[in-house]
C-alpha cells in the first residue's frame, strides 16, 4: 500500500509539472499580451499612452523574453515563494484574489458531489433491481431530462420560478451583509439559503450520469454467481444486494471522483455567471478575455492540481475498497 502510494505521489508531481508547462503555454497562445489589450482599450477611449511607460512595464513583466525564461520566472516564483504573480487587471497579487473564490468553488462543488451521490446511488440501485419497472422508466426519463437541460438554462428557469412564485431573487452565495462576516450559525444558514439553487443545478446533470453508470454496472453484477451464493446462504434480498453486487458496482463510480471535480468547475462557469456566484469560474472567464495572464495561469494550474489530487484520492479510495487492486490480482 505504501509503495503504491509512493508511486502515485511521484507520478503526481511529474503530472503537475507537465500541467504547469502546458497551462503557461495556453495562456500565451492568443496573439499579443495584456499590455496590447490595455493600450487598445485606452486608445479606444481616446487616451494617449507614453510609449516609454509601456516599454518599462513590458520589461518589468518580462514580456518579449523567450518562453522558457518567462516560464522559469513564473514557476520558480510559485514553487519557491508561493507567488503566483500580479493580476494586471485587479492590480493585486493573484494569491489574494483566488483563494477565497477557489474556496467557494470547492465548497459549492463538494456539496454538489455529495448531493449527487446521495440522490443517484439509491435511485441507481432501485432502477437496476427493478429493471423495466415504472420506477426504472421514471428514473431513466428524469435522468435524460437532467442530462439534456443545459445547466445555465436550468439556473435561469430556477431564477424565474423563484421570482414568480416566491417573489425572491436567487443569486450570489451570501446576503449583502454576510459576505465578509466570520463563519457562524447565522452565516451558515445564510449560505445554505443561497447555495441550494446552484447546488441543485450543478448536481442534476451529474446525478443523471451517475444513475446510468450505476444501473449498468449493477445489472452486470446482479447476474454473477456470487449473488446466487449470497442468496443460498439465507441472506435477505435487501442485504444480499447491498452487501455484494452494490459493493462491487460502486468501484467504477469511485474512479469517477477524479474527473468529477474539474468537470464540475468548468461546467459551473456559466452557472456561476448566471447566478452571480463569487466562485473561480467567472474570474477565469474574465481573466481569459482580458488576457490577464498570471491570474488565468494560476486558476488553470489550480484546476489541474484539483484534477490530479482528485485522481489520487479516487485511486487511493479504490485501492482501499477493492482488494483486487490493492494486491494486484491477475
Amino acid at each position: 500500500m505504501l509503495g503504491f502510494f509512493g508511486k502515485r505521489l511521484i507520478a503526481m508531481v511529474l503530472t503537475m509539472w507537465a500541467v504547469s508547462f502546458v497551462a503557461f503555454a495556453i495562456i500565451q497562445l492568443p496573439p499579443g499580451d495584456y499590455l496590447t489589450t490595455y493600450m487598445a482599450t485606452l486608445a479606444a477611449n481616446g487616451d494617449r499612452v507614453d510609449p516609454a511607460t509601456i516599454e518599462a512595464l513590458r520589461r518589468q513583466y518580462g514580456f518579449g523574453e523567450p518562453y522558457i525564461i518567462q516560464y522559469w520566472k513564473w514557476i520558480s516564483g510559485i514553487v519557491l515563494r508561493g507567488d503566483f504573480g500580479q493580476s494586471f487587471e485587479w492590480k493585486a497579487p493573484v494569491t489574494t484574489l483566488i483563494w477565497g473564490r477557489l474556496g467557494n468553488s470547492i465548497l459549492l462543488e463538494g456539496l454538489a458531489v455529495i448531493v449527487m451521490w446521495l440522490v443517484a446511488v439509491p435511485i441507481g440501485i432501485y432502477a437496476a433491481v427493478r429493471k423495466y419497472s415504472l420506477g426504472d422508466y421514471l428514473a431513466t426519463i428524469g435522468g435524460f431530462l437532467g442530462l439534456a437541460i443545459p445547466n445555465f438554462f436550468f439556473a435561469l428557469i430556477l431564477m424565474y420560478l423563484s421570482f414568480v412564485w416566491f417573489g425572491e431573487t436567487i443569486g450570489g452565495l451570501f446576503s449583502p451583509g454576510m459576505e465578509t462576516a466570520r463563519w457562524s450559525p447565522a452565516r451558515i444558514w445564510d449560505f445554505l439559503s443561497h447555495a441550494w439553487a446552484p447546488i441543485l443545478v450543478l448536481a442534476t446533470a451529474g446525478t443523471a450520469e451517475l444513475i446510468r453508470i450505476l444501473r449498468a454496472n449493477l445489472l452486470d453484477e446482479l447476474k454473477k454467481p456470487y449473488v446466487t451464493t449470497a442468496r443460498a446462504k439465507g441472506l435477505s434480498e435487501f442485504r444480499t444486494i447491498l452487501k455484494y453486487p452494490v459493493r462491487v458496482a460502486l468501484n467504477p463510480l469511485i474512479s469517477t471522483i477524479g474527473w468529477l471535480l474539474p468537470a464540475l468547475v468548468s461546467s459551473s462557469v456559466l452557472v456561476s455567471v448566471v447566478l452571480n456566484l463569487p466562485t473561480a469560474g467567472p474570474l477565469l472567464l474574465r481573466s481569459l478575455t482580458s488576457q490577464d495572464m498570471f491570474l488565468a495561469g494560476a486558476i488553470i494550474m489550480l484546476l489541474g492540481m484539483l484534477t490530479v489530487i482528485g485522481t489520487l484520492i479516487s485511486d487511493l479510495l479504490l485501492a482501499w475498497i477493492d482488494p483486487r487492486i490493492r494486491y494486484g490480482s491477475k
Binding site: 443460498a232 439465507g234 468501484n251
Partner: protein, 345 residues
Amino acid sequence: MPLIPMGDKPILSISDMSIVFSSPDEADIEAVRQVDLTLTPGKTLALVGESGCGKSVTARAVLRLLDKNADIQRGSIIFAPGDAEATDIVQLRQDSLPLRAIRGNQISMIFQEPMSSLSPVHTIGDQIDEMMVIHEGLKPKQARERTVALLDQVGIPGARERADAYPFQLSGGLRQRAMIAMALACTPKVLIADEPTTALDVTTQAQILDLLRQLQADFGMAMLFITHDLGVVAEIADEVAVMYLGDVVEQGSVFDVFAAPKHPYTQALMSSIPKMARKADRVRLSPIKGTVPAPRDRPQGCAFTSRCPYAFEPCATIRPERTAIGDNHHARCHLLTRQPAEAAA
C-alpha cells in the same frame, strides 16, 4: 405397523416437479418436466445427465434460487427434517423468513465455479462468518473462531491467516474447500453440490471428493451430487438418478443402476463408458444415436423416444409411469410395463 428405521426416512423428496421458463420473445420452455427424487440422511444421491438436461435447474429449485422467469408449475419439494414439521418448499414465498431459515442453515449448496461464486471483494472469512451470524446469531468474533476451525477441518493449511485472504489469493482447490466450509458452517441436513469438481483438475477433484465423503461421515448429512461424470458417480454416490431432457428416467442404488440399468437411455449411457481391456478384447464404444432434441421438439411421451432403439407404439404419445423394479429402484419406461403383460398372454 412395521417400524421404519430413522435413517431410511427421506429427508427431502421431490415429486412430479416441472419447471417452465418464460421469455418475452420465445415460447415457454419446460426445462424440467417430471422429476422425482428422494434423499436419505447420510446417503449421497448423484444426479447425472448431459448438459442442459435440467440437473442444475432442479438443484437450484430446491433452494428456490431460480430467476424470476422460472416457474415451478407442478409438483412438490417436501423437506422433512426429523426434528421439525415437514415443509413444502414450493409453497414458500421467495425471500420469506421460513425460506431464508432453510437456505444455508438446513439445506446448503456448493457451486461449480468457486472463483465466481465467491465475492471478489470480501475475505473468505467474512463470507463464512456471515452464515453463522445470520443463522445462529453469533458475534463476529465467535463466528471467526468457528470459521477457523471449519477451514482447518476442510484441510486448508494456515486456516487463521487464510481466513483473511481474498478468493483470488487462493488456488482453485483451496477456494472450493473454502466454499465447502461455508456450506457446512451451520451443519446443514442436506448438502447440494452442483458439479463441485468440474472446474478443478483431476488430482484436486479426487481430493475434494475424498473430503466430501469424509465430511458426510462426520456430519451425517444427505447429499445431492450433480455431475455428468459417471466415474465421479461410482466414487461418491450411494444412489444415482439419471436425467434425460427434463425427466428423471431412472433412480436406484449405484450397484443396481450400473449393473442392471433398466431404462434404454441408462443402458446406452453405460455402454458408452470406455472399459479397460486387453487389446484383443477391446470393443468399439457405442455412442447413443442421434442428438438431444431441443425441449420444444421433445416427444409428448417419453423424451427418449426419438433415439430409443426399442421405441414402440405408446412411447411417443404417452408418458411412461414410474415403475418399481426392485428395492428402491425405479424407472420410467413402457418396456417395463409391457413385458409382464405379454408374458401373461
